[in-house]
């Protein structure tokens, strides 16, 4: 009996790993074909990616990138666990980073205090922006997909309006860059010096803590259970006593608050100010990574690292005479393959388990003595 249970579990784990692996292998094969089609040899491209990707400065670069992507992946995953598609993570983090940068530039408090305030400001801004979509959904039935897309545009417009000299921004570098006032150096987040590899963003620690919190809250708390219940079956959640509406708003707020952190590694560890070239579109990467990582905290981390790796190495390919657009091809194909592979594997697993249970019970019925043991 126990043997069978553990076997099913092991199988589930195997199936869980099989899907992303399958997707990545399929993506590599398709990418190789694309490179071949452009008349070049894919072999050296891949080997260059490997050697360059594992150089120590690349590793630091990848980890820094992955920190941001991880936070994006987790913010999106919180929505996914609820069956909410929070596309608005993009607007949420940009608005959050902007206001946090403005606040940070204006503060002249001790470093740790102003950093804390910056983080709180960022999370609150993200939460408020996400809450708008949540409230619209439960009161007016507006699909969160539509409203968050619109809120993204509104966020862009707001930032564009306020990020002007004379409003909340100033001109820097001889008038070529429009940016918010830089943070005083006291409120720079710590960096980890890795020697020749360069400096690792200290914010990676915060990202890891967010991952742990995500795992703990969803898997170990009553609140997390309620949230997952709504995600799996709204009707069952209602019958079990969860207020679905309250849950929609709450999870949007949490997702938005997490989204508020996405811009922080850049702001507190790299740019120290919000300028017109602050990175955009990270949330869409986050969606791909959450899908790839199956909303699992470790899976998302692996996905974020893979994304960072691909970006770093395909950039370098350009110098080897390959087209750098290959990055888009790999990423796109991976996402497509992942979605397909998960569904295939999920169905296969469910069917297999049903067959197993059926077979086990038939065996029990055939041997009535064993049945007594169970009863």
């Amino acid at each position: 009996m126990n043997k069978l249970t553990s076997r099913i579990d092991k199988e589930r784990l195997l199936l869980g790993i099989a899907a992303p692996l399958l997707a990545i292998v399929a993506a590599l094969v398709i990418t190789a074909l694309v490179i071949l089609a452009t008349g070049k040899n894919p072999g050296p491209a891949f080997s260059d990616m490997m050697t360059y990707g594992f150089a120590s400065d690349s590793q630091v670069y990848i980890l820094n990138k992955a920190t941001t992507y991880y936070l994006a992946g987790v913010s999106v995953a919180i929505g996914f666990r609820m069956n909410l598609f929070n596309i608005g993570v993009d607007g949420q983090y940009r608005l959050a980073a902007f206001f946090a940068a403005v606040l940070g530039g204006a503060l002249t408090l001790p470093g740790w205090l102003s950093m804390l305030l910056i983080l709180i400001c960022a999370m609150a801004t993200g939460a408020v922006w996400a809450a708008i979509a949540g409230v619209l959904k439960v009161t007016r039935g507006v699909s969160e997909v539509i409203s968050t897309i619109m809120l993204n545009s509104i966020a862009t417009a707001i930032i564009g309006y306020l990020l002007q000299p004379g409003k909340l921004a100033h001109l820097y570098q001889g008038g070529t860059v429009v940016a918010t006032k830089p943070l005083p150096s006291a409120s720079h987040f710590f960096l980890i010096d890795t020697g020749p590899g360069g400096e690792l963003d200290g914010f990676i620690v915060v990202a890891a803590l967010v991952g742990v919190a995500y795992w703990f809250v969803l898997g170990r708390t009553r609140f997390g259970y309620d949230l997952r219940t709504v995600g799996q079956s709204e009707s069952a959640a209602t019958a079990s006593g969860v207020s679905v509406k309250k849950m929609v708003v709450t999870s949007m707020i949490i997702s938005g608050a997490a989204a508020g952190l996405i811009g922080m590694p850049t702001l507190l560890n790299e740019s120290y100010q919000f300028s017109s070239d602050f990175p955009t579109g990270i949330a869409f990467t986050g969606i791909a990574i959450a899908l790839l990582g199956r909303n699992n905290p470790i899976g998302i981390a692996l996905g974020a690292l893979l994304w960072g790796f691909l970006e770093r190495t395909t950039n370098h390919l350009e110098f080897q005479g390959y087209d750098k657009e290959i990055l888009g091809v790999i990423q796109g194909v991976i996402v497509l393959c992942v979605v397909i592979a998960y569904e295939v594997v999920r169905r296969y697993g469910l069917k297999r388990q049903q067959q197993k249970v059926g077979a086990e019970l038939a065996a029990q019925a055939a041997a009535p003595k064993k049945k007594l043991e169970v009863a």
Binding site: M1, R222, V357, A362, V374
Partner: protein, 468 residues
Amino acid sequence: MKILYGMQQPDEGTITIDGEQAVLNNPGDAIARGIGMVHQHFMLADNLTVLENVVLGAEKLHGIGGKARAKIKEISDAYGLNVRPDVLVEALGVADRQRVEILKVLYRGARTLILDEPTAVLVPQEVDALFDNLRELKAEGLTVIFISHKLGEVLSVADEITVIRRGTTVGTAEPAATTPRQLAEMMVGSELPTPATEESTVTDVPMLTVEGLHLGQTDLDGIERVILDKVSLTIHKGEVLGIAGVEGNGQSELVEAIMGMRQPDAGTITLDGTDISRHATRNRREAGIGYIPEDRHRHGLLLEAPLWENRILGHVTEKPNSRGGLLDIKGARADTERIVASYDVRTPGIDVTAASLSGGNQQKLIVGREMSHAPKLLIAAHPTRGVDVGAQAAIWDHIREARREGLAVLLISADLDELIGLSDTLRVMYRGRLVADADPATITPEELGSAMTGAATGHLEHAEDDAR
């Protein structure tokens, strides 16, 4: 059944139709071979007419116009189905809808008909009418496979009976030479229990009092439909109150109102002396309401979650599932093991998903879960629907035991034998009102059936000179 209709592929074995071996890869193959299926849950579009529903997906056969209409008329007359092609399906009752389903299948040229639990939703009179239709079909040379849990019906309509238990054929029987009891024993593999309760345990302490419950719903056309109309009832400690009625007459809404899943417009609900009319569902559950929902897949389970997570569902704030704000996974798992053992849930372990259990075992898990939190009131909506006879008996036993321990039980069922057998008091619900009451000790299913169609109201007295 799914294999016969091509929805699933067998691992081994053959299907022979009309002396010819057939491989059915999908329902299309089955239809091409003349196999048609009438599902337990009707697959009709409410906002289309009967004609449109019938031709939907089979437009190639006779078009969608006059020829199709003529064909429908022809089939309807040939088998006495009495179908009116231009009525909207939403205007039809359950029995009429079922005839449309049968017609749909015949329209596609079926020579073999599979009926899955066709009588589950019908009152006795409608069942008789359905059986007349089936005999008509048989007389015309069609083959009918009639799948049912109800033995009396199988015996009265079938020419040959095959008993299947846990996926294997247990035996075949001639209806003429078999009694329901023998048949049932073949099904369970042992002595058969009956739903009858022994001595009365009714006390005069009211546990649940519902007063003047009213619920209206404005539909798309702006017309207000009354769903619950001044419903009042009292269930005492140790009493099982059964509610009979054709489905869709407000029973589900009554349950949802008591559970707090739906806000009634007026009326109060009192549980054990406390007014819970304004409480949220979770507080009502904590106050001691156990709930066996009528649709366990929609309301009672997380199908893709393991059994132990399903054990937490609905009771996440209570011991042994959580302490403070944290889940007590160890406690929940241990208690799931206990439920699996003492409620005889047949499963290889508590880590398999709920979806992989059979309906009966899913239901036993739900019953076990709801009984594990010392409920004061148990709402059992169709507790044995789609459940095999063995599990049915077990569930009846649990309800009876609960009643002995002073629980109040609200029982809603379409199975009249179950209602009469288990209940201490019977009420009949029709169009949102409790129109009649009856004494389960004397009433017959037929009498109850006629009240369910609205033909009789008030206190139903058993007529001693009844011809039956």
